[in-house]
Amino acid sequence: MTTELREAAGTSPLRKALETTTMELNFGPQHPATHGVYRAVLQLDGERVVGIESIIGYLHRGIEKWVEYRTYTKATPIFDRLDYVGAILNCHGYVGTVEKLMKIEVPKRAQYIRVVLDELQRIANHLLWLGTHALDLGAMTVLFYGLREREVIMDLFEAMVGQRLLQNAYPIGGVRLDFPRGWERACRNFMAELPHRLDEYETLLSSNRMWLQRTKGIGVISGAEAVALGLSGPTLRGSGVYFDVRKCIPYGSYEDFDFEVPLGENGDVYDRYIVRVREMRQSLRILQQALDGMPEGPLMPEKLSKIIRPPAGEVYFSVEGAKGQLGYYLVSDGTDKPWKCHVRSPSFINLQGLEKMVVGGLVADVVANIGSLDIVLGEVDR
């Protein structure tokens, strides 16, 4: 820079000085609003974003390669580490894939227990997302309220499977243990309380003029664009596209439950926010139905060998993760270790939409958009 200027200085340094240029801003990897070690290199014209380049891989652990050296059973806890905010959903995705590969019929009661834990995990994930998203936009109290409610779910998990964050909740074939005594009552108490708390969050945010100004019309992405980019989950549904794995490709007896898929209209940050908040209410509906209609029966299939050795072949199975369609692709060569594993992680693919959303907006909108995507870097980098 300096040498160029010195060359130009002979002619007219002042003109050089007054030329306007874009500015490069390193957004991350250590930045409070990138939700992890995500790095975006922003090209700025003043405060306006003219270009964004995502740089990922700071949290790459090679999980997909790693599981090739582990047996199917031993690989289960590893997948919790992908999306560490929605670990149970990851676990469900993986064990579901192996079960599909081995054509294991999961007992009905185990399926219902999985639904209960899945939906609790989804609520926990969305609560944490809501808090951090609100914190990104300056409303710090919502974070603490959200964490307070999430804590109850964490306690439920701890009582049910023994761990709070990375639960390793499901073994291949079913679930390990039934609900402990009193668990259902505690869960129902929580479910009775949560709608009122959600109302409070909506009082603090949904109608707040500052929140509306920060989110309405920001980071608009149309339904067609969202589909073309492969977005999924609430990010896609915020753009008004009806796609929910639980409805469209039902798994784990989700077809038994009556629930709606909330859709946005404009595809802006506000729609993605409101879709997630409504999704929490729908999750509560599913929870209610699952607890009410809990069937009796075994938790694990009758005949299940201790050593998991699926037949040779390949399989793709996806669940509706907290962030979107969470798919697992496994290739088996008949041994007890997967020959190849690939994860279609929703955070990674949703991140593709970021450029469309932020270019032309302001720096502050980048924060709002990253928040509205709900990325977890463990899942982006794998």
């Binding site: 300096t2 200027l5 010195r6 200085a9 340094p13 002042l14 050089k16 000085a17 007054l18 030329e19």
Partner: protein
């Protein structure tokens, strides 16, 4: 006391020089800031509190911030390479020196030097007009009581209301024009 005055004057002049000859634009701006504050102290000493406060509020707190704003947004490295003192500077400096000495000579031998302290109090820094106006008003003994600020207000909004308003309209037009020129789309 005299030493204090000499120090203040030296500070103001040094700051003024610093504004002109400093290589770093931000150093120039800072010199200007100190200069403004020095001049404000001078106003205070002349018992023109209002002008002093306005000097700090408008020039130091407002306009100078805009200067610094501009400096921060420009490529500082290139500005540093431009010459601050050109060969024209020396003749101009001499000319200014001569003018300054001549003015000082005239001032020294004029009646101001002998003005009694009582009248000095009235001398409000606001240009010759205000000064003479106050003197005239004082002569008519219309505005005897009240603080300095009140007298300034009565002059500004009494005798000189129309010129004052005309000046403000002119400034408004200039500001609007500047906005129009600077903004790409309105």
């Amino acid at each position: 006391m005299t030493i204090g005055w000499i120090l203040l004057f030296a500070l103001i002049i040094a700051c003024a020089l610093g504004v002109v000859i400093s290589r770093s634009p931000i150093a120039s701006a800072l010199s200007l800031l100190v200069g403004f504050v020095g001049v404000a102290i001078l106003y205070l000493a002349l018992k023109a509190e209002f002008v002093a406060a306005v000097q700090v509020l408008v020039y130091a707190g407002g306009i100078l911030v805009l200067y610094i704003f501009g400096i921060m947004l420009t490529d500082n490295e290139a500005l540093r390479l431009t010459r601050q003192v050109h060969f024209q500077a020396w003749p101009v400096f001499l000319l200014v020196l001569v003018l300054f000495l001549w003015m000082g000579h005239k001032l020294y031998h004029s009646d101001y030097a002998a003005t009694p302290p009582a009248a000095k109090v009235m001398v409000v820094s606001g240009g010759d007009q205000a000064e003479t106006a106050i003197a005239a008003l004082q002569a008519q003994s219309q505005v005897a009581a009240g603080t300095n600020t009140q007298r300034l207000a009565s002059v500004m909004y009494g005798n000189f209301l129309y010129p004052f308003e005309a000046a403000s309209v002119l400034l408004m037009v200039a500001a609007l024009g500047a906005v129009f020129l600077a903004k790409k789309e309105i």
